[in-house]
Symmetry: C2
Subunit: 645 residues, 2 copies
């Protein structure tokens, strides 16, 4: 890619950013958009419907200031510890890339420029220079300037590790503080016991009572056995639906009652249906308490949190597949379907999900490979000769190389988080926060594999699997393939990164849905729900740009300013969204941080592997050997953090 | 190797076995050998000194019967659960190889023989046939007979897995039974707390008291802070030494007192020295209770086992590197040096030990490669042309190929268990049983790597490391290299395996030591110690033969009868040793079994990998693909067992 193509891309996207910022500031002031852009404030009743019609249409940047202002404490109060952890991930990345950016732009970039491996830079016509001239590829074999890169790698690693340590410690302390500051809550006194063994004759309830009275006499308080209520729930749902119907029907009255017989008045009909439902509910309630509907799981409550903790941490049974204890989830966080699953079923479900994830990861390569084909103009011309004329147009070729590929890739990536969430939900977790954590993990690795590695290796050939199966060669192959994709990823950051934050700001899908809904039911004052933040969608996305920045830090330092800009955008926009849009539904109390930590460590080790391969390619034997301790130390540091926190 | 060489080896070793069995039966009846062969019975006072001088010199096989007879319960009483687990490992192997042997000898061996890939078997002169004719190498590419091997692999895997499951369950139940049947012991009421954080001003003892009174008020009983006593201990050791000297000196009196001045009577001298020591001990005791000598660790006792278990399983501190809890080891099992080590020190020690083990493993390849050179006559003749004449002698060549290599290898392997025990002892364990377990694990992997893999791959070339770094190729490379070493390993089982058990029976080193000692101090009625069983030395050895048997089960079924014989010998001899020689010093309560289990699983998976490679080589695509689920299922089974027990 030429510098001009990059500049064009940067230009387009900067204009888009400014345009959309202005548009957003206008749109959010329209009362009918409150539901999309300020649902949180609407629900809290703090968004005043403004009367001044003119002020509504004047763009302003006040919202940026507003989202900048709140302190961490306020964020904690409004979005819980998870929100704080998410924002700290962004500030952490900002710190890292400020440091990396200074080194990269002021030290590495000039060093790369003054190398003369490829061609000398054409200072007269900057935009005609290839981006490769700014990368490490421009340095000669055995160039002593490579030691500058060597030093930069050590420096960045040390900086990131220190920062990671302090950040982890900070979040660990915050977790404890959070626990101490919050009032004792019922679920802290309760544990969930599953796989209660069946004893002949007695009911589950009796078994639980007997067991805990025998083993935890002094602290045991009571228990609730879980029942299968799917039938009852369906009846209740039916009733709720009917309530909605009735509520909507009464004031309208003019719509024809196509479904009911004409002889009947609508009120009489509803009365009969409601009576029937009431009957059904009573029947269902009676049925639920029958012993056959008992699930072999129970919530067991204790007199103190200490008692609950004791019971939680002690192995309860000789057979470790019985009497499994888990901390009880918060009441609105419970995910019911897997309470009746046996140990074996849960285990098998887990294995199946792992296989499904692997399969998805492998099948997903197809669109990625197609996308990669598009970035390669020569390949495209070769495959579709009739396109030669169109492709020879400068604008078309620049759009194709600079914009289209990442757009297609990004669109197909949009479906991944919901799929992963679904897979995690059938994996046997018993609370939504666990599902989110598990899905987040899956999406992180999926993104790294299918965006980073697939792009890196499909660019040269479809030999990813062979690379994985040949670990000795990995560093050298990475060192060949990763720098080759530098321009793709710079374009990726500029296009996908920036537009990503904009789509997040605009909430494109909810905005469109609400628009369409409004055009069908114009004057509907429907109840609306404040959406929860989907961490499993956003965390991997932000982390991936961190990975890109760290990996390309010494290969193509030109990427760093764009990444830094991305994180600035993300900082403002996510703070805005936390204040105005998303309300926390449950709180994992900061348990997303370890994932963030591990991904950062992985990024560092990946960078080291590439560096080792690169120095080997550049025939710097000493530097290669001196780099080997670095990943080892980083992994040891990670191990230490894992033990310490 | 030819059949004749094998037969010669079998002949020599069978004769040696019979000879040594007879010799043993005579030697063990000599009262002066009781110390070596029957120390346990001597210590218990149950070995009657026989008066009948003639009967002493008549060989008998009564000892075999005696060691056959005791039931498992008696074994449990005399050697603890560890002894039972060890014997069950042997009986387990016996069952496996009885099954495998029947399939191998009656199904696979004939199938292999009637293949005609190599040459047709010369039925007239059996002994001139190469051993390869009895192996799977004799089957043609795409031979339908290979499906017999395919079935046999599935059958054996299923059999071993079933057996493993039942065995693990049996041992888990035995562990619980053992716990229930034994009386409550002090160490069950106690936990060891380490890394007690220093609080300014107050002593460790006060800190512990305050902490447990605050957090475990209802169950906390008392504690003992650990003190640094190395100085005191050295004084006590001095005193003990002196006591020994005095005890031995008094009756003899004729040896010249070279060390002491002539003017002094020996009694007066000893009295003065003793007084001095007493003084020192008192000083030392006073010093030990000074606060500077306190170690930040303590044994904390509770009122009930339940209380101790609660405190053990609960995380005690916000910082998980403080207040680390461990179950207290049995009093005579404690290993003192690492009580003062901080979390960080222990962790670093562990990492260093891992590196040391890796280094040892790599450096150890040198003797193995040398040994492998010896088995290859052609290479030897090429390197030392002057030996051609000697090597052309049939006896020499047969001894060299059939006997010498494994002898050299085995001798150098003898030093490994003590080294690994030493490495484990500086790894930060706090009890001897943990050290033994850790050493056992190290020796198992060392043996598998340095005997099996080094032999397999050095036979063809020194490309082991390249194989490891190229996992895709592993099955095929194994399938080429492993069958090539079949004759070496058959010889290995016959020579090393059988002589190993004999050296165990004869306790060669203690026997020689006692002989030499007796010739220097003829009439010494020294106190002797009953030796403990060194599980970390014997378990890996027995397991390794299991691994050989399973790996070569379908490649060269000829190995199976010899392995079966090895296990029969081992069964008799180890039972004998448990009854007569070894006394348990501490009991891990059967914690060696998981290691045995994992090694068996590893053997199975290794066999599957080789089978996949072999079927790929023999161009049986369908069989290759149908085999892939087998290792996956085996690993899943292992995972299940790990969770279940």
């Amino acid at each position: 890619m030429l510098l001009s193509a990059l500049l064009m891309s940067v230009g387009i996207n900067s204009c888009l950013c400014v345009l959309f910022f202005i548009l957003y500031s206008v749109l959010r002031k329209q009362p009918r958009n409150y539901e999309v852009f300020l649902p949180r404030r609407l629900a809290a009743g703090t968004s005043k419907r403004r009367r001044n019609k003119v002020a509504r249409y004047i763009p302003s940047i006040k919202w940026i200031w507003k989202s900048w202002r709140p302190s961490e404490k306020e964020l904690m109060e409004s979005s819980g510890l998870d929100g704080v952890v998410f924002m700290r991930m962004i500030t952490f990345s900002l710190k890292v890339f400020l440091f990396a950016g200074i080194i990269g732009v002021f030290v590495l970039l000039p060093v790369n420029c003054f190398g003369d491996q490829l061609t000398v830079i054409d200072y007269a016509d900057w935009s005609a220079n290839s981006l490769d001239l700014f990368s490490v590829a421009n340095l000669k074999i055995r160039s002593p300037w490579l030691w500058v890169h060597f030093g930069a790698i050590y420096l960045l690693t040390a900086f990131v590790c220190c920062l990671l340590y302090f950040e982890f410690r900070y979040i660990a302390l915050k977790r404890i503080e959070h626990f101490h500051s919050s009032k004792p809550q019922p679920h802290q006194f309760t544990i969930l016991v599953r796989n209660i063994p069946s004893s002949d004759g007695s009911s589950v309830s009796d078994t639980v009572d007997r067991f805990f009275e025998e083993n935890h006499l002094s602290t045991y308080l009571s228990h609730v056995v879980i029942h299968r209520t799917s039938k009852l729930r369906s009846v209740v749902d039916q009733a709720k639906k009917l309530y909605k119907q009735v509520k909507h029907k009464k004031p309208v009255k003019k719509t024809p009652m196509r479904f009911f017989s004409r002889k009947d008045t609508p009120e009489g009909h509803y009365e009969r249906v409601l009576q029937e439902l009431e009957q059904n509910i009573r029947l269902g309630q009676a049925e639920v308490s029958a012993p056959g509907k008992e699930v072999r799981a129970a919530f067991v409550s204790f007199k103190s949190r200490y008692g609950a903790a004791t019971a939680l941490h002690m192995p309860q049974s000789i057979n470790p597949t019985y009497w499994l204890t888990e901390p009880a989830p918060e009441p609105h966080d419970v995910h019911w379907p897997f309470f009746s699953a046996s140990f074996m079923q849960k285990w098998l479900a887990k294995i199946l999900v792992v296989f499904a994830c692997l399969l998805l990861t492998i099948l997903f390569l197809v669109p990625v490979v197609l996308v990669q084909g598009l970035t390669n103009l020569a390949a495209l011309e070769f495959m579709f000769p009739f396109l030669t004329f169109i492709l020879s147009m400068k604008v078309v070729s620049q759009i194709i190389t600079g914009y289209l590929p990442s757009l297609i890739l990004q669109t197909s990536l949009k479906v991944v988080p919901p799929i992963m969430e679904f897979l995690s939900s059938i994996q046997g977790h018993i609370c939504h926060s666990d599902i989110q954590k598990s899905a987040c993990n899956k999406v992180i690795w999926f993104t790294i594999w299918n965006v980073f590695f697939a792009t890196v290796f499909s660019g040269s050939a479809f030999y990813k699997l062979s690379v994985i199966l040949d670990p000795k060669e990995i560093p050298v192959k990475l060192a060949v393939a990763v720098p080759a994709q530098a321009s793709f990823f710079i374009a990726y950051v500029v296009t996908t990164g920036w537009t990503d934050t904009l789509t997040e700001l605009f909430r494109v899908v909810p905005f469109m849905v609400s628009y369409i809904k409004r055009s069908f039911e114009p004057s509907d004052d429907n109840e609306f729900v404040v959406p929860p933040m989907r961490y499993h969608r956003d965390t991997p996305r932000v982390l991936f740009f961190g990975l890109l920045g760290i990996t390309y830090f010494f290969l193509a330092p030109l990427i760093l300013p764009f990444i830094l800009l991305y994180f600035c955008l993300a900082y403002i926009i996510y703070r805005n969204q936390f204040m105005n849009v998303y309300a926390p539904k449950f709180d994992t109390a900061g348990l997303f941080w370890p994932m963030i930590h591990y991904t950062m460590i992985f990024s560092l080790v990946l960078m080291h592997a590439i560096a080792i391969g690169l120095f080997a390619l550049k025939k710097m034997e000493l530097a290669t050997y001196l780099l080997v301790p670095l990943p080892v130390c980083t992994l040891l540091f990670n191990e230490f953090c894992r033990k310490r926190f």
